[in-house]
Structures are given as structure tokens and as C-alpha cells.
Symmetry: D2
Subunit: 369 residues, 4 copies
């Protein structure tokens, strides 16, 4: 099934494996007239590149993007934008061990069950490199949103047991540490925890939080296409994500209505605001004009060098230790992936929302009622 | 946009408001030849009916379902199954107050922003009665799954601060208490908590857990249509859900890879199993043959009789107390809704998975390679 | 598969069989704020009703439509509009002969092959009554289009060998004869031909032509979602349609480029027009501002009382003559069905087109570049 | 909108312009385990290449395809197959005249209306080179179909006034002439007609016919997703197609039911067949086991060197003659494009049809009823 296409009006189709010729994405339905260069996309791709800190793999990946179509004289034409990143540094190392066994926490076994065989080199399609297509497309979505006054910002909220306090955020600190945590003190603790994990040949999970500002009230559709439902799918489709929550999320399940309800009030400019934002910016699946705030839980990197029990393709019990150098944590590099999936989701829903009212449609087409 | 349609091969389209003529659903793509009666559906609808315990509204709703099409001589024909429940007991009470103000925690304000006006009677489309369509369709999906050896079971995992212990479950107790909690002792505590909430004119949130047994390995699609991503969307599209997690979920973010990875092993019958199920039955977005286990966090019922601050449509600050009798908690009645959304999701992905391998397609069409 | 849903932003899902409880449609994505009554829909349904002339079946079908949801205080709310027509006059006659044999030209055999059995009463889902859902939804689409200055008009272009001349049309005559032909002289010939067919216990095919006026230039998408491709699918999905052509259609295959190309010119008001319209209003799949003109070929009614050869379900050769009174031609009643499928298609593409340009999106959301 | 994606379970997304970096397609949902090489695809691409006869442009286009993903050790993996053809021979000639004027019969004007500007080099996205993606994907679909015993064959049925007689076909002659007409005598007449057109600096239209053999009865969905409706959209989405008909098509509109109905009969092997095939292999939108036969009408090549009237972007009346060498007819090169769109459509519907019956689903999953 077409599992690699995402979106309704602005849709993306990604392709590529870890060790194939390259990784890419086709963006279809991008509005015409947007100024767009490869640089706009490259700065997003650089944020997910490995080798940028001591907690990401020292493998060098250039990940240079090429715009193959859909841009003419510096502007999008409205037709499909094809983006490609060539795989250049994937070594043809020995995959014979991985080829014949099922790594715990990986998709080796499930791909074999589904397809009868699998591309075992570097994880094939289930590799983290698959996110290159998401990020390249998300960079375009984020640029469009920024022209509409909407910003999407994600950061590391927690690493293992180290979580940052909502009231002490300083986003300017986010890019000043190796873990994309906007709180220097917490970041230092997190780094110490990661060092301990690595010393034990182990890995660690964490949480990414994302804030979207500037979304007007009224975006999202009733019933199955609620804004939060679409965000949940977008975020949970990222490999290693095991949970999604919006606003107070699971904490809302423990409290009373009187403390969870956000009171509306008249703002000084006469518009309507909310005194709190337990809802995370969405009521009945539709944006309420507040910041959209959600979180994604990432499991620990499944590749660890510590010895593990498993079976091989013949169904025999074996023990393996995964060779090579792997990130001890997924989260810092996943921050930009979450941001991009959110941008793609919000943009698509924003475009869809243009058609919800007769009066606005008539105005768009120059008709008077 | 078509926000009321859900699914790819087996899709449902729901319609109806709280106080309109009725509520319904059209199931399209249901395989032909399934024995189906109104009773099969009614037993699911009865589980979500109000008035069944002292924690659900004493309003009497008959919610009798009528099969309007798609069944001939007791079996499904393969063409659309139209199901309708007439709204019978909705009193034409005075909605003038609700009509002009925005209830905190409700969709009143966002619907007005999106559509320019709203059906204010009983919540209109954003009413909990919208779930009747989901449950009626889910009953059909669950019946198909049961013929394929797959069962879907949800229950109340937590109410406010009262949460049940995974190791002390007894599903047979689930329907013996007013809160659908399969643990009598915890249920008693939960009921006491609800009584306290009600005494304070307040409401309470909770968590529903769902276990799906019998799903073969290999169901789910890579990338955007991962089985967990689809489940996340399905579940988060239910009103009042603020979070979704599969397997260990957010807890996985706090631990190390060595404890989160599930070791594969050879089972006595020679097949491959997992020693633990931290993953919740899905690896790389594809089922691994273990039980699928996920949870949904529900916020407290937003309708509380306690006085709250808000604004009216003129943008003036006012205070309201919501009249009428409302459930102090959504969770017990939402259990069957979660179950139904899960059944619809699993069935659709199961049908899609039939086409993933050439050898199986050739066998299906009687071709030898 | 969900074969009964049509459209992207404004989508419809139809249901119902000839002899079931009723026929209906759910319209999802209808913009909010449209004034809508049952009368708006009934006048379209009345145009497809049988029993209106001597060439349609004398069966009396009331086909009274009921709005079940989506309209509040006389206006559409933006949520699903559910429409139902109860089947009232379907007699429970003896279908034992049809039940066991395959009528030539009907879907009896193919439904059995696909589904393993079929609802044989009155044709089940493949009955012409299925079009009630299309027409009810199309009436809503046509009303929206008319508020945007767009009109959709279909009429009988040909009946058997009798075809009307493009230059002698008089649309005002269309409803003055029994065959919906806007040319009295041709209509008289056509009626004579139909009388001859009927005398020979036979039936007759024909052509419907449709003209859509007021569509702005720029509607339609490149590649697979060309405006003409969508119209082709919409029209060919009507039972009994065997061909579709736009503009000069098949005649364009016989001529030279110099005569088929439409020359652009500057109109008196300074805008751009075309001197001819061989293209039928679409260039590269996108509307060019001219009238959209297309035709649909309908095969003869397959039900004829003349004896025919066929087989029964046991695979034995038999001879049958189809009892009951049937229209000797489908075309006059299909005119409104073609009109409605065209209206639904154009409206959906019109809504989609709102998102094709950055500058217009920015203007819509009140952003300055 | 995502106008460049086609298909439900097996879907394709095409991209690329005439003079950009390249042209490509992503095939998503291809079943795993199909042996596939670049050669399999190249032989289809070679059939649409220009420069192969005196009636196609002498431009040399290599159109060498590269498989970028989705194939591992010679077999499809079930994940997206990305195919690319680099644009190599597109000269950077002077497009200043075309840039500022609207060529009659082309999409220049409509793209400007839709998008505000356009890529004017070589037609941009509306160029015939867009079909490379369709053909590359269609080659894969055709290979899958052939493994299921289904063949798709298209040929030139008519060129201008020269049409071949159904009873004198000899498909072996098809590739022995410059116009892909399986009738040598007719081909000679057609070539003479094309020479005459060219002498007059003019172009010519024609008809492609397609026959699909081996499709089992029961493929196609009721209502909107009829097999013929899907074929109509697929074929009408090819640039320059102005009409589609299946079976007797428009001719069926002129005859009586008694001659148009196909009589069923018992074949010698006990199965059910049809004595004639006026229906073209489809009844009620579902395949009946006979050959599927349809035709597509192509307009004449709009680019002619003869002087034509038109307007420029400033809205001034001008006269132009289109420079460069252009095919005097589209049809011979379009034959393989029609074949490929048909293969993609049939394959998708075939996969979808696997889920229409409970008994077959239970058998597939190894359940006994």
C-alpha cells in the first residue's frame, strides 16, 4: 500500500533506503510563487546530520540536497518538487551477521514477516535515514508557514530521567549544547547521563516537545481529521516514537475538570483569549488560537553494543552484540524531524481550512452574496 | 473537507448531531458474505449507552440501530451498509444561554471561528453522541476480526489518581462494576473518587487501555502508515482524548535500551516469540505477532456545574454554570469507543496487508510462478 | 473497497439498493453558511423520477428527500449532510426467475463473480435507483456553484440515430417534450423512434451533452487530476455510460491541428478569449475560461421484454424475457444525473484550486508579503 | 493539490519538467518479491522515445532509467521504487518568444491563470516528457500483470481519416511500420496522410485502441470506482486525449438493446462466456471475464509551424509560427503510454478486489469458517 505518501492538498511521497543510491521526496501541491533554494532545505537537513556532537555518530554524511524539479527561476511552479540526497558515505561493510539474525527492537523480523525478505544493509527502508525525505519536505512547509506568520519550534524536553522545567526555558540556549535542550543546567545533567549509558554499552530514550505559534483559530476538521489526530499520526509515524500527547496529555487524565478547563476571557485588544492552555491549543479537534503544544516519547536507540539474546532466521536462539558506532540517543537529531512533521501537518490543514465557509469562498472568487 | 470519513479499503463515513434527526454511519468496503444482524450492532451500542450506572447520565437514550442497506438475506452484500440511530429523547430544552456563550473545554468557540456559526443544541456535531456512528461501524469490524481469530478488548485503566496494576487484572470483573475496571478493589476506590468529584460539582479524567490479540506478524505499512501511527490517529480522533501511547509509551523515554528491547526467542512449537513486550506488539510500524497494547488519556468531562469564567459571543467576560446532568467522567462509556476505533483500524490494515507479497498474490489468483 | 465515496474536499458517500429500506447520501465537506432546504434538493430529484412521461416507467416513486443532519436553522453547518429517500413503492414481486439467471447487459453475473452472491431484487445496488444519492448531493453542489456564478446544464443530444444540431438549440424547449431535447423537431423524430423500439419490445441508446458556464480559468490540476480526467471518471461512473468526450472529442482525432487549435484573441474588455472552442474549455487539463462542453454515450436499456439467450446460475443455457415495464431509454432521466456529477466535480476542483498560489493564500489569511 | 499521484494500493507519484534536471516517478505499494531490472523498464521507455521513425522528432533523447530505491538483490522489497531519467539533450535554446505568448492548443495560458507564472521552457510540466514517469511505472505494473497471466496491448487504431478494420488486425505487423498500426495497407495510407499534413505545415489526430486479456471476472468496484470509470480517468489524464470509450462506446448510443446486449452462454469447458463483447468486458463497472477493449481519441499535435493567431502576455493580438521540429502526430508514441496507464489501473483494481469476500479473506489468513 502507498504508505510513503502523506497529506491531502500538500502531499509528500518519500523514498530511499539507508544503503541504496539515495534518499528523496516528492512534494506535490506546493503553492506556486514561493521563493525556494537548495539552501532553504539544506539548513534543515544539516540539523539532522550525524557527526555534529559527541552524542551523534561520527559517520560523515554530506546529505547535500538537489532540487530536481518544481522550481523555475527561483520560485516554486506549483508542480511537483522532487528533492534528492545521494547516499555517498555508506560503506559496503559486512552485513552477513545482521542479514541472518533479528536485532531486538528493530524491524528486521517484522519486515521479513511482511515481505518475505528484506534489505538488511543498514536497516534498509526502516533506517533513520528515511527521515531525510521528511526533513527536506518539512523545510519547504516551514518556509511557507513562516510567510504566513506561523512558527514551529521543537526541542529536547527530556533525556532519560532528566527533564526540563517548563518555567525555566531559554530557547536561545537550545543550540548551545549537544542535546538540543534549552536549559544549560539540565543539558549538563543529560550529557552526564548519556556518558553513563555509553560507558555501559547502552542507550537511552527521551522526549521532544514542540510549540507552534501563530496558528489562527478554526484550523482542523471535526471527527476523524481533528488537528490533534493528524498531528498524532504524523508524529507517531516517526520511527522510535512510542507516545504522543497534546497540552497536558496524560496528566489531564489525573485531574479534575475545574482545573483542566481553560477559561476564556476578553483580551485588551477586544479579542478572545484563554487564561491557561491545558488543552494545548485545540478544542474539539480545531485550533483555538493559543499555542499548539505537544510532546513525543522516543524509545532508546535499539542498537546497543551490549550483548543481547535473539534468534536467527533459522529460528535458533543466539546472542549478538551490534557492531559499529551508534547514537546513544535518538532525540537530539529527531527534534528537527518532529518539527518538520508538524509543519507539514499544520500547512495541509491550513490549506484545507480555506474552504470551510461559503462567505469566504465567495469573497475569494470575487462574488457578492 | 471530508473529515467524517475514515479508512482506506474498509471505510466509514459518520454523520449526525446531538439534537438532529439522528446519527448514522455508512460502512463502505465491507467484505461480502458476513452474517450480520441488528443485534450484532446493538450489543455494542448498548455498551456506550448512558443511564447504565450511577456515573453516567440518567438520560434515557434508546439508541436502537436500523440497518438501512448492504445486508441481504442476513449476509453483507459487499455494498455500503448504512446504519442509523434515530434521536428520540433529546428534549427541546432552553439552549439560549449556551447559544450565546463559549463553554470552557468545549468546541463552541472553535466551531464559531471555523464555520461562522454553530449548532448549539447539545453540542451539535461535537457532542459525544457522534461516537454512535463509530461504535455501530466498529461492531461490524469486530465481528469480522473475530471470524479471523482476532479479539479487541478495552477497559478502564485509570480514573483520576486511581490506576490498576497490570499484574492483578481480571477481565471477568470488568463488567461487574460501574466503571469498567477489571479490578474490584481499584474500582471501589475509583467510585469513591468520582463521588467526591461529583460532590464538588466537578469531573474527572482517566485512561483506557486496549489489548488486541491474534494479529499475525506483518500487519502495518512502513513510513507514514505505520500500524501505531494509524492507531494513534484513530484514538486521538475521539473527543476528549489528549494522549496516546503504545507498549511502554512515555515510560520508554526514561529507560535504557537494554531494558526496553524485547529479546526474540524460539518458542516450543518452533515459531519465534518475544520474551517481553515493551514494544506493545509493533516494531518499525509493523505487528510482531505479540499482543498489541495501547493506552488513551481522556481529559475530565468539560461540562461541570461548578461556576466557571468565560466570555459570550459579544466578547464580554461572564460567569456560567453548566446546567443539566452530565457524566462526571467520560472513560467508562468511552471504553467501547476505543475498542471500536481499534477494530476498524486493525481490520483496514489487515485487508491492506493482503497485497504486500507477489507470491501470495499469485497464490490468491491461482497462478504458479 | 470504498467505491461509494467520491470527491476530495467536498465528498459524497452514497448507499442503498433498489428494494432495501431506502437510498441515501452523506455529503461531507460542504462549506458552512449555505441556505438549504429539502425543496432545493427535491426539485432535482423530481427531474429523475420515473412516471413523468410516456417513455419512463409508470411506476410511481415518491422519492421524497429528508435532511437528517448538517443543516441548522436553514443553513449548512459545515458538518456532514445526510440525505435519505425511503423506498416506498417497491413491490415485493416474484424475483425467483431473476434470482437464478444472468440477465444480458446487467451486472447480475459480475456481482456474483465478485461477491459470491447478490441482492437480486430490482438490481440491488446496481439499480438505477442508486443515482438518487448522486442527484440529491448534486443539487447541493449546483446550488453552491450558482452562488459562485456557475451554471451546469445538460440535455438530450441524441436518441438512437436522431441527433440535434448544435446551431439550432433552444434550451427553453428542453422541458417541453418527453425526451429533454432542446429542439422540438428532433424531439418529435426521437419520440417516433422510441415508439418503434417499444413496438418491437426493444430499447434504445443515446447521448447526453452538458455545458458548464462561468468556470474561471485556472481550475483543474496537472497530470492525473486534470479537470477533464475527473469529469470523465465522474460521468463514466454512471451506470450504462460507455463513452465520454470533451470539446470535439473523437471528431478531433480526424482533423488537422490548424483547424482544431483555438486561436486566442483580445476581447473588447481587454481580457483574453478564444475564437473557437474545439477544446471544450480545457487546455492541459485546466479550465481556459470558455464554456466546458462534454458528452456522455449511454447504451440502450438492457432490460427488454424481447426474448434473449442467456445462462442460469447452474450454467445452463436458457431463454428469458424480462418482465415488468422498463424505460425504453435511459437518457432523458439521466440528464439530471450527468448534470449532478458534473456539478460535484467542478465544485470539488474549484475548492481545491483555492490553494494553488502563495499570493492568494497570503491574501486569504491577511498576510502581506 | 496532489495531482501527480495516481492509484490506491499501488500508487505512483510522477515529477519533472521538459527542461529541468530530469523526470521521475515513485512507485509505492509494489508487492515484494518481483524480479526487476532497469532493462525491464527501459524496453518500455524505448517505445515512447522520439527519433524512431520519420514521424517522430529527430531529437535524440537517451531516456536511460535509473532505479534509485526499492529493489534489493534483483527483487522488489515492497518499499518505494524511485525511478529517474535525467534530461540530457534538452538544448538551452531561445524561449523568449514562447515565454511571452500563449500558443494555441497548449497549456501556456491556463498555467499562467492557475499559477501566476509558468516554466515556459519546452512546455515545463505540461510537456509530453511528463509521460516518462507514467511509462516507467507502467512497465513495472505490466510485468506484475504478466506474472498473473494478464496482457495489455495497445496500437494505433486510426490516424486522421484512416482507420483500421477490426477484422483484419495482425498484431505482428504493428511494429513493422512507423505508425504502430497492425495493418500494413492502412499504415501505408496513414503515412501518406501524415506526409500531406507535414507538407502543409500541419498536424493530425488519431485513435489508440487497447485490449486487455486475462482479467478474471469480478474486478472493479460498484458506484464511483467502476473499472471503466477508473480507466476513463487514467486515459483522459494523458495530455491531448479528448475522448474515451469502452466496448462499442458512442456507437452503442445509436443501436437497440437487442443488438447491444451480449448473450451469455455455457462454454465447452462448463464455464460461462459471452457470445459477443459489445460491452467491452465490463458490466455494472465490474469485469465480466471477456477482453477489456477501449479507445482513446487524441487531438492533433498543437505545435504546428503554420502561422497562427494568438495573444501575448500583455494581451495584444499577434501571429506566431512555432519553431523547431515537432511530431506531426502524437498517437504512435502515445500507444505505450495508454498501455501503461491501463496496466496501472488494472493492477490497482486487481489488488483491491482481493478483499471483497469474507470466504477468500478467511482462506488467505488460514481461517476455517
Amino acid at each position: 500500500m502507498a504508505g510513503s505518501t502523506f497529506g491531502t492538498l500538500l502531499s509528500i511521497t518519500t523514498w530511499g533506503e539507508s544503503h541504496g543510491s539515495g534518499i528523496g521526496v516528492v512534494i506535490d501541491g506546493c503553492p506556486a510563487g514561493l521563493p525556494l533554494t537548495e539552501h532553504d532545505i539544506q539548513i534543515y537537513l544539516n540539523r539532522r546530520k550525524p557527526g555534529q556532537s559527541r552524542f551523534t555518530t561520527p559517520r560523515k554524511e554530506d546529505d547535500a540536497v538537489e532540487i530536481l524539479s518544481g522550481v523555475f527561476e527561483g520560485r516554486t511552479t506549483g508542480t511537483p518538487i522532487s528533492l534528492m540526497v545521494r547516499n555517498t558515505s555508506q560503506r559496503s561493510r559486512d552485513y552477513s551477521e545482521i542479514a541472518s539474525c533479528y536485532r531486538p527492537g528493530h524491524a528486521d523480523y517484522t519486515y521479513d514477516c511482511k515481505y518475505g525478505f528484506r534489505d538488511y544493509t543498514g536497516g534498509g527502508r526502516s533506517s533513520g535515514r528515511e527521515t531525510i525525505g521528511r526533513v527536506a519536505a518539512g523545510a519547504v512547509a516551514a518556509k511557507i508557514l513562516s510567510e504566513l506568520g506561523i512558527t514551529v519550534t521543537a526541542y529536547t524536553k527530556a533525556i532519560g530521567p532528566v527533564s526540563i522545567d517548563y518555567r525555566r526555558f531559554d530557547l536561545s540556549q537550545m543550540e548551545q549544547n549537544a542535546v538540543n535542550m534549552p536549559d544549560s543546567a539540565a543539558a549538563a545533567l543529560a550529557e552526564a547521563h548519556l556518558d553513563a549509558c555509553r560507558a555501559q554499552q547502552d542507550s537511552c530514550g527521551g522526549i521532544v516537545e514542540c510549540v507552534i505559534q501563530g496558528v489562527p483559530a478554526g484550523i482542523g476538521e471535526p471527527c476523524f481529521e481533528k488537528l490533534n489526530a493528524r498531528l498524532a499520526k504524523a508524529v507517531c509515524s516517526i520511527g522510535a516514537v512510542k507516545g504522543f500527547e497534546i497540552g497536558d496529555g496524560f496528566a489531564a487524565a489525573e485531574v479534575c475538570g475545574s482545573s483542566n478547563n481553560d477559561a476564556f476571557y476578553r483580551k485588551e485588544d477586544g479579542t478572545i483569549g484563554k487564561k491557561t492552555n491545558h488543552a494545548g491549543g485545540v478544542l474539539g479537534g480545531i485550533s483555538d488560537g493559543s499555542d499548539l503544544v505537544f510532546r513525543a516519547a522516543f524509545k532508546p536507540t535499539p542498537s546497543i553494543s551490549r550483548e543481547q539474546e535473539t534468534v536467527n532466521q533459522s529460528g535458533e536462539n543466539i546472542r549478538i552484540s551490534i557492531k559499529g558506532r551508534h547514537d546513544p540517543i535518538i532525540v537530539p537529531r529527531a527534534v528537527v524531524v518532529v518539527e518538520c512533521m508538524a509543519a507539514l501537518t499544520i500547512l495541509d490543514m491550513l490549506l484545507i481550512s480555506m474552504t470551510s465557509r461559503m462567505d469566504r469562498i465567495q469573497e475569494f472568487f470575487g462574488c457578492n452574496r
